[in-house]
């Protein structure tokens, strides 16, 4: 069997893109056949069918461009291919050498593929569509969206947090600058640029340590927990930590606050007073939801052993070392429901700011306030009882 040419290997590391092309081709053939049938059977004019034909072609070319963006990035990043990553870690590879599976960076061939897609679409669209420019930029933008999304996700898995946050700040900055809507088309390119810088920085740290989220998630959720039940699981598994470092919590809080501000700022309102109630209600619900999520991570420690009967029997209404777990959610709920009103009516802040600030603070508290899940699990004054999460996978041995 002849080896595949190098350009092919560079562009198509797996069959994903080919499958996407064949799928789109099949849909187009069906679509074209259906239109031909309409023309022949009902005598419809080609002008009458111009609009659906244009929309169909536009969707097809955007889909292909998006799939191509995924196919060019996903298979080549070592974080997504466990065996490739493990093998690469055993070799003397450093970022100054090319990656054996194929380049992570974009290559000239990519320009050719996107160029062909764009040219083909423009050629066909010019016959039917009054405006050609969406066809001109569409594939490139969708390609950039896919590339930026995959690289950002890859950066997240290898704890390249600064770049992940920088990417997510781009839409907020563009919204703050109040640029025309067309400028939003620049977003994916800027985001892809930042994400690419993150990828390069993360490769400098290769092989990555155990902080890789994908490995940790996979290991804890599938391998060990399905193999041992009570009491080993309760006593020896370190619980998934919810709290993070203050720096990370602050970065997340600023980002969430900024996104809240940007979204609320972009909504045009006809009835400001009525909308204030709606916005602040949504913010309150959102903050209570974040509080609930935090509390659920501490779930195993909040057990029946500390029920009212136990407290009554021991005349101990407050168990400080345990009840501290409720402090953060209560504070978060209070801030989420009260602070927006105070900020808006007492301090005259705009609705967007009055909602964004509490959301940011709530997120900061959720991710940084103690105790940690590990600390509470290992030192908390609570009992653990003989139960496992999915009883259908385990059988009980009694006696």
């Amino acid at each position: 069997m002849k080896p595949r040419p190098s350009w092919f290997r560079k562009l198509l590391a797996d069959r994903f893109f080919l499958c996407a092309i064949f799928s789109v081709a099949a849909i187009l053939v069906f679509f074209g056949g259906f239109l031909t049938y309409l023309i022949l059977e009902y005598g419809l004019s080609i002008e009458f069918l111009a609009k659906p034909l244009t929309v169909g072609l536009a969707c097809a070319q955007l889909f292909i461009a998006f799939c191509y963006g995924n196919a060019r990035t996903w298979p080549y990043h070592p974080t997504f291919d466990e065996k490739y990553r493990e093998w690469l870690a055993t070799t003397p590879w450093t970022p100054k050498y090319p990656l054996p599976k194929g380049p992570l960076r974009l290559v000239w061939s990519d320009l050719i593929v996107i160029g062909i897609l764009t040219g083909l679409a423009c050629l066909l669209a010019s016959a039917y569509s009054p405006s050609i420019w969406p066809f001109l930029v569409g594939p490139t933008v969708l390609f950039a969206v896919a590339v930026a999304a995959v690289w950002t996700f890859a950066n997240w898995t290898v704890d390249q947090d600064v770049h992940v946050h920088a990417v997510l700040w781009v839409p907020v900055v563009i919204a703050a600058l109040q640029l025309p809507p067309e400028a939003m088309l620049l977003c994916p390119f800027v985001m892809a640029g930042i994400a690419w810088h993150g990828v390069r920085c993360s490769l400098q740290r290769f092989p990555w340590s155990s902080c890789e989220k994908l490995i940790t998630l996979k290991k804890t959720s599938t391998e060990s927990s399905s193999l041992v039940g009570w009491p080993f699981s309760n006593l020896l598994f370190e619980p998934k930590e919810y709290r993070t470092t203050f720096r990370r919590a602050l970065m997340g809080a600023l980002l969430l606050g900024a996104w809240t501000w940007a979204v609320l700022e972009s909504i045009e309102t006809n009835d400001p007073e009525d909308d204030i109630v709606g916005f602040m209600g949504i913010v309150a619900i959102g903050c209570l939801f974040i509080a609930g999520v935090r509390l659920s991570h501490y779930g195993p420690a909040i057990c029946s052993q500390l029920c009212w009967g136990h407290r009554l029997a021991n005349n101990q209404w407050l168990i400080p070392k345990h009840d501290v777990v409720f402090a953060a959610p209560l504070l978060m709920g209070l801030i989420g429901t009260v602070a927006p009103w105070i900020l808006h009516y007492a301090f005259g802040a705009s609705v967007a700011v009055a909602c964004a600030v509490p959301v940011g603070i709530v997120r900061l508290i959720a991710k940084s306030m103690g105790p940690s899940v590990r600390e509470l699990n290992l030192t908390g004054p609570h009992s653990a009882f003989g139960e496992v999460c999915s009883t259908n996978k385990f059988s009980k041995v009694s006696g």
């Binding site: 193999l227 039940g229 006593l235 136990h310 029997a313 009992s383 009980k396 041995v397 006696g399």
Partner: protein
């Protein structure tokens, strides 16, 4: 060494353990003995760290339970607790389960494979070892649960009713020999509960008689027999566990003959 200090615990309004003090030396095999509902399992749970007492504390080699996160985790890796209601993975084989438990205790892989083989042989589970646990009988499940406690190679074993739950005579004999050997030769400290007096006399260095949530007596079987002023350990147990009902069997037959 295990030190239990002034342990008191309630289930809601019902007191289960009242001011329990106990000391177990390293390499000692201690049996907790008492009527149903006397607090044996709760005491074992407090030692194992699954139950947090209302008052008092438990120490292992001078380290208090749940004092700090790192020390507690370190302690958990040195203690194996086998409750009477262990959960086993249905879809996995006995061998897979043993290996997974061993890995949790950071046992060397090579030794782990060898030990799992020996344990499966010990409990006559050579053939069943590679079948899914779902297909095991009640006794075989108990055996694999016991094997999971032994594969951890922990210096402290806390076993709740290891000899009940459908264990066959071969299993009982095997477990008895292993526990004896571990305590005598390997310096493993074992605390267990069992309702079988014959086993207690044969196995235990010391016996703690738990009655109404308190330690009624604590000593070797010979000491307990002597203190009770009885000829046999069984009689001494009868007097210590049910002091107001020592002639309960005689009363049962007398009543029947009276009819």
């Amino acid at each position: 060494m295990i030190q239990v200090k002034e342990l008191t615990h309630h289930y809601g309004l019902r007191p289960v353990l009242i001011d329990v003090n106990l000391q177990v030396e390293t390499g000692e095999l201690v049996v907790l003995l008492g009527p149903n509902g006397s607090g044996k399992t709760t005491l074992l749970g407090c030692m194992a760290g699954t139950i947090w007492p209302a008052r008092g504390y438990v120490e292992f080699d001078g380290v208090k339970r749940r004092e700090s996160a790192d020390r507690e985790l370190e302690l958990r890796k040195r203690i194996t607790y086998l409750p009477d209601n262990t959960w086993l993975p249905k879809q996995h084989t006995g061998r897979e389960f043993l290996l997974a438990v061993g890995r949790l205790y950071d046992i060397d892989e090579f030794r782990l494979f060898d030990h799992s083989d020996r344990l499966l042989n010990l409990f006559h589970l050579e053939e069943k070892g590679d079948a899914s646990i779902e297909s095991y009988s009640t006794g075989q499940r108990k055996k694999i649960a016991l094997a999971s406690a032994l594969i951890t190679e922990a210096p402290y074993l806390l076993l709740d009713e290891p000899f009940s739950g459908g264990l066959d005579p071969a299993g009982i004999l095997a477990m008895k020999s292993v526990l004896k050997r571990l305590a005598h030769d390997e310096n493993v400290t074992v605390v267990m509960t069992t309702p079988v007096p014959e086993l207690v006399e044969e196995l235990a260095h010391r016996v703690a008689i738990i009655r109404d949530g308190q330690v009624a007596d604590y000593g070797s079987p010979a000491e307990i027999t002597q203190q009770a002023g009885k000829a046999t350990f069984e009689e001494a147990l009868q007097q210590l566990l049910y002091p107001e009902k020592t002639d309960v069997v005689a009363a049962y037959f007398d009543a029947s003959e009276g009819k």
